[in-house]
Symmetry: C2
Subunit: 361 residues, 2 copies
DNA sequence: TCAGATATTGGGAGCGTTCCCATTCTAAAG
DNA sequence: CTTTAGAATGGGAACGCTCCCAATATCTGA
């Protein structure tokens, strides 16, 4: 193994220059761009145009049509900065995901979430402003987000316990919705019932006759990991099994972590593993394979997420399917509602998940 | 309804509704929020504060320090909407990726790109506004992006040929940079040399004695696919081989597509495949395996991207490593430069890539 | 010592909206 | 025919910033 540099002539970083000016001049756009110009052209006042574009009912129907006509034919779109400044809304929603690269691309959760949030925002005519958190995002980013003044509201996913960002958002008065619950403050959130999911997974393994069920947890200090672990413990206990801490290891939600966790657990003779996401399930299976252990015959593996690769993997993964798209969409709807209605009470919504039975357990 | 005990005690999962108002009132933040307030507190004028926060050199050093002191101790951040309206910049950069879900999560290219763009933007104190394109993004999104007025500039990746968005951006006068080149107009872009990459891959296969080298292309109508195919053709021709069109199939950059393409190619007895991304390489290998064909002994496979899974896959993937992070970072730097310097000429930059030799070929 | 720079500072005028209040118009009621 | 509520419209005043120009303070050299 090794790297091969580009063999023949290596050309890096060569700048090329063209002059654009002439071409640009000839292409100049001529749309009317301010509300005042539209007003003049429609023969009404600024205020009336404002009413029309904001769906105020106090406008004569004919006037409305005339204005709309001018608005459309001139491709007029109100200036968001001005709108915001004048006390209105920008139509921009922030999406904050404070995790590092490694998880972002191993876990299918995030692309699906991002996509569903983005799509729903498009549907309800909003733009998404995006933050991926670096480790030290606590420092600058929070204040940036909050004081950003361009955002109507914020959706936050994948928080750690006691994440300062929640308190900051809370204090800031900016409307926000969490994806995943938060226990220290009453906040708006959407979530799945992680304990119940773990219960489904473990119960299924028990039903299929497994006796020594291990679990690979995600990232410490997160609700989601804790809840899944609690569910695992509770279900085993309820079934009359003693929980063996040797059968519990942390995998950080990544494939390598799953592999390593399985290596730690393996000497303690598990006959099944509940990996709390699919990436770690794959890592665990990779380890088991290397040991010559058969899946599911010798050790059954259940994953979590129903990642796109789960169905085509060999063996295909038995896993818990979270309605990620629903979470994202609902978070957007909830946030829009908060922004527009400013309700006094917080809203929560818990989605159901399914156990998808395939080959791995 | 009721008071909310906020103490060191941990509150358990809240049921659905609470009234936040009282609590919020008591927590009201008291930071000064306008430039005028800061000015008053620092004993200077609005203008002087403005100069300080915009690094204008025409400020007395002691005055600057005094103002900065007040700014920092009050967590003052200028209002972006106001700033923009007054003719300044918002510090927000748009990132547009007009592709659907399926590719977004199969191709590691995107998460890495997103991450690198986002990180660099953080570094240079900018926010990222994010668009994932739906199929019909051409319609509304473009005008939204352009007329958005909140963006200082835009980075666009993964365009199709003749993508209307380019012409629209061009016309709009908004600063923008493409990731991947565009031939119909002189525009700013960063890219890799796809032809040369293909050349590296094919040459390597030739060097290892392969005689019937196939290729799996990506998405038709894209520069990147065409260039890689051109490179494939040219290299074979240069080596004195005739190009057999039966050995060329389209895979759409996704795993399933790679599988299907391999199925089409297989009857024509290839002894090697250059898959133009790793996802398709994996798909191809899956097909070959199912046919009982050994990789690399019977058929060698070269991928593209050096996806995170490429190294740990069995067999580990020989692949082309694009400097995706460099592309993203450079795109940001270039855009910032365009925004601030408004140069007359367009800038291009081509990055070198490496062939990473592993087990699959 | 004083004109003439030069360094520093202050304040007015917008930027394009929305909100609020005043005004005009209309139609129904007295 | 006048009165009046209500519908429809117009225009001033913000919102918080940057830009520009004018005003003041300080410094230079003859």
């Amino acid at each position: 193994m090794g790297t091969l540099p580009i063999s023949d002539e290596i050309e890096m970083c060569f700048p090329v220059f063209f002059s654009l000016k002439d071409w640009e001049r000839s292409q100049k756009v001529a749309d009317l761009s301010t509300i005042e110009e539209i007003a003049k052209k429609a023969g009404v006042s600024r205020s009336t145009v404002s009413r029309v574009i904001n769906d105020d009912p106090n406008v004569n129907e004919q006037t409305r049509e005339r204005v709309l006509e001018v608005v459309n034919s001139n491709n007029y779109v109100p200036n968001r900065a001005a709108r915001k400044l004048a006390g209105g809304r920008t139509g921009v929603i922030g999406l904050v995901i404070p995790i590092g690269v490694s998880r972002l691309f191993v876990e299918p959760f995030f692309p699906i979430l991002i996509q569903s949030v983005t799509n729903r925002c498009n549907q309800v005519n909003r733009s998404v402003m995006f933050w991926l958190g670096e480790p030290e995002y606590e420092r600058r980013s929070i204040t940036q987000i909050l004081s950003n003044d361009l955002l109507d509201g914020v959706i936050v996913s994948s928080l750690k316990d006691q994440d300062p960002i929640v308190a900051a958002l809370h204090r800031s008065q900016i409307p926000f919705v969490l994806i995943g619950r938060y226990r220290d403050l009453p906040v708006n959130f959407v979530d799945i019932d992680n304990e119940k999911c773990a219960q489904m997974a473990v119960n299924y393994l028990l039903q299929t006759g497994r006796k020594r069920i291990a679990t690979i947890t995600g990232v410490a200090d997160t609700m989601v990991s804790r809840e899944r672990l609690d569910g695992y413990r509770a279900t085993l206990a309820k079934a009359g099994f003693k929980v063996d801490d040797n059968l519990i290891a942390e995998g950080g939600f990544v494939e390598e972590g799953g592999y390593a966790a399985m290596a730690k657990i393996f000497p303690h003779k598990p006959d099944a593993v509940f990996a709390t996401n699919d990436a770690m399930a794959v890592g665990a299976i990779r380890f088991l394979r290397e040991q010559g252990v058969r899946v599911p015959e010798d050790v059954g593996v259940v994953g979590f997420d129903d990642a796109p690769f789960a169905a085509s993997y060999k063996p295909s993964l038995t896993t818990i399917a979270q309605p990620i798209g629903d979470l994202g969409r609902r978070a957007v709807d909830m946030l829009v509602n908060v922004i527009e209605q400013q309700p006094n009470d917080v809203m929560n919504e818990i989605f159901a998940s399914d156990l998808i039975i395939r080959e791995s357990a």
